[in-house]
């Protein structure tokens, strides 16, 4: 979708971007990551020709961007900057409609679209359309900044540290909102950041820059698992394995189709099932399959009766859609080595164990 071909930019004797070649597939969120002055922002600004490359080419959908009219090109690319850059003299409505107006859209159509877009980011159009940017909080302004870039439905979105100036709590919320939008809209996004956590959270691809050179370009999990050199390893941090936890869903790490018992089963049945599977615990489910409690092998071995009389409360449950970071965190806070996994309705789907997680993470190191 976006292809950079030996892209180079020199400012005088300083080479800001040095022979960068990469391919951003359609629908990807590609985070350009690196310390200040590494050339990531320059690279991004060459895509919409705010900066003219010294040499090299950029192709969007196979078309060489240097052959297009710069203004036309920019109108087909959404652009979000760190300072947000809403125009203070325009209402929120007019701000969102900047590009549609430039493109000469019908006024009714663009105004209707502005209202729809505001709803997408949970801002009430009846309240906000007529307001001016100064009457909005920073977080609200940046939401408008993002939907403004989406107004004319461009296939490509460039974002220059868009959430950098927002407080950490709001940043998480806006990141999540953006991810939800992106899951629906499937834009091709080039996103500049210096925050590895943000990159791991948002990116489908990460490009790590140093001194104008592209050092590593890969999926986040691969970069965390196999940093190409010490610079990348240092940059992604000593806790990179912990960061990977965020990339794996519980559903992908759990043992599926587990054995279980119901309240009416006898203890002998429970013991037999545990021994047959070489387990020391077993989960008791309700009549329709919701996780209700558990039994430990040592507590019930040799005893008689039914499961319902000996069941203990589950120490913690984890949703299958959570990431492993939450799972491990729950294990530590409850002081257990395994968790029962349930879906949104509470039905028992499987379990994750610390050992299983270690093996999963370890396996990709050995790849």
């Amino acid at each position: 979708m976006i292809r950079l071909d030996r892209l180079t930019k020199a400012f005088g004797s300083v080479t800001a971007v040095d022979g960068v070649t990469m391919d951003v597939p359609s629908g990807a969120v590609c985070v350009l990551l690196g310390p200040s002055g590494c050339g990531k922002t320059t690279t991004m600004k060459m895509i919409n020709r705010l900066i003219t490359p010294t040499s090299g080419k950029i192709f969007i959908d196979g078309r060489d961007t240097s052959t297009l009219d710069a203004v036309t090109l920019r109108r087909s690319i959404g652009y979000v900057i760190q300072q947000i850059g809403l125009f203070p003299n325009k209402t929120i409505e007019d701000n969102i409609c900047v590009v549609p107006d430039l493109l000469g859209w019908d006024r009714k159509k663009s105004r209707k679209r502005a209202a729809e877009l505001l709803e997408l980011v949970n801002l009430d159009p009846s309240v906000f359309l007529r307001r001016y940017p100064k009457e909005l909080s920073g977080g609200q302004q940046q939401r408008v900044g993002v939907v403004r870039a989406l107004a004319a439905d461009p296939p490509v979105l460039l974002m220059d540290e868009p959430f950098g100036a927002i407080d950490p709590i709001n940043r998480e919320v806006i990141q999540d909102e953006f991810m939800k939008l992106q899951a629906e809209l499937k834009k091709t996004v080039v996103f500049v950041s210096h925050d590895i956590d943000e990159a791991v959270k948002m990116a489908s691809h990460i490009a790590i820059f140093r001194d104008g050179k592209l050092i590593q370009f890969d999926k986040p999990d691969h970069i965390l698992a196999n940093p190409i050199d010490n610079f990348v390893a240092d940059f992604v941090g000593g806790d990179r394995t912990l960061k990977r936890l965020r990339l794996v869903k519980v559903a992908d790490a759990m043992q599926v189709a587990p054995v279980s018992v119901v309240a009416g089963d006898s203890l002998e049945t429970a013991v037999a099932r545990m021994e047959a599977n070489n387990h020391t615990t077993i989960v008791m489910v309700g009549p329709r399959g919701r996780a209700r409690g558990f039994l430990h092998l040592n507590d019930i071995r040799g005893k008689g009766g039914v499961v319902g009389d000996h069941v203990e409360t589950l120490p913690g449950l984890i949703n299958v859609n959570d990431d492993l970071r939450n799972a491990v965190s729950a294990m530590f806070s409850h002081g257990v080595t395994w968790l029962a996994c349930v879906d949104d309705e509470g039905f028992y789907k499987g379990y994750v164990t610390q050992r299983g997680i270690s093996q999963l993470l370890g396996a990709s190191y050995r790849e």
Partner: protein, 244 residues
């Protein structure tokens, strides 16, 4: 809609109008008012002339000053804006009387010299404030506008000028207030206006004649300032208007 400064300013306006009433009462009781009013026809005629001088010179100054200020903030002049501002600042130090005298030496006696002198005087604050207003527009707004695909012209008219308008109009307001107040000097180069009453009054040591020129001049200045103040309040979009 009202700002925090308005209670204070309404307080001062109350005090000043009380002072005016007191002054008027005194003038009426001493018979001065009657004498001043005896110049009514002169006042009206000369005020008309005065307003013409102000209107022509202000219009010329706006017509020259705004484009000049805009041009000085465009590439490549932008990089020299500081130096140019300094030169213009030097220009403001030249006394108005000197400018008028110089103008008279090549434009001759009459309204054109006066209009020229007043234009020069009015031009400078307009240019300076246009430059200041445009350079105060944050660069990232221009970058955002460029990145969204506005042409240079669209950026100027849709982003830069609206956001600089308050500062620009503040310059226009100052300039025109100065213009109205300085226009009496036009009499000295044969340009007419209320200066005729003021200077003749001085020469004849006739206080009432002097006041018959001075009071309308002051009132014109106040009215002009108020009118532009209202423009500032109502014309500038609420998002960039510190007054509301």
């Amino acid at each position: 809609m009202t700002t925090s400064s308005s209670p204070a300013s309404s307080y001062t306006s109350i005090v000043s109008s009380l002072a005016l009433v007191a002054l008027g009462a005194w003038a009426a009781s001493s018979g001065l008012l009657g004498t001043i009013l005896s110049y009514r026809e002169d006042i009206l005629y000369l005020a008309g002339q005065h307003l013409m001088l102000v209107a022509y010179s202000s219009a010329l100054a706006l017509a020259i000053g705004l484009p000049l200020g805009i041009a000085l903030t465009r590439k490549p002049l932008r990089y020299h804006a500081d130096a140019i501002t300094q030169v213009i600042n030097l220009g403001t130090t030249i006394p108005t009387l000197a400018v008028l005298a110089l103008a008279m030496s090549f434009l001759g006696i009459g309204a054109p010299s006066a209009i020229f002198g007043l234009t020069v005087l009015t031009l400078l604050p307009i240019v300076l404030n246009t430059i200041a207003g445009l350079s105060m527009v944050p660069r990232y707004l221009v970058e955002a506008a460029t990145g969204m695909g506005m042409t240079d012209r669209q950026i100027l008219f849709r982003v830069e000028l609206p956001n600089a308008l308050f500062v620009i109009l503040a310059g226009v307001r100052t300039a025109i207030a100065i213009n109205v107040g300085t226009a009496p000097l036009a009499f000295l180069v044969g340009g007419g206006g209320l200066g005729e009453l003021i200077f003749t009054g001085i020469d004849l040591m006739d206080t009432s004649m002097l006041l018959a020129g001075a009071i309308p001049t002051a009132m014109l200045a106040i009215v002009a300032d108020f009118a532009i103040g209202q423009c500032q309040y109502w014309l500038i979009p609420r998002g960039v208007n510190p007054l509301r």
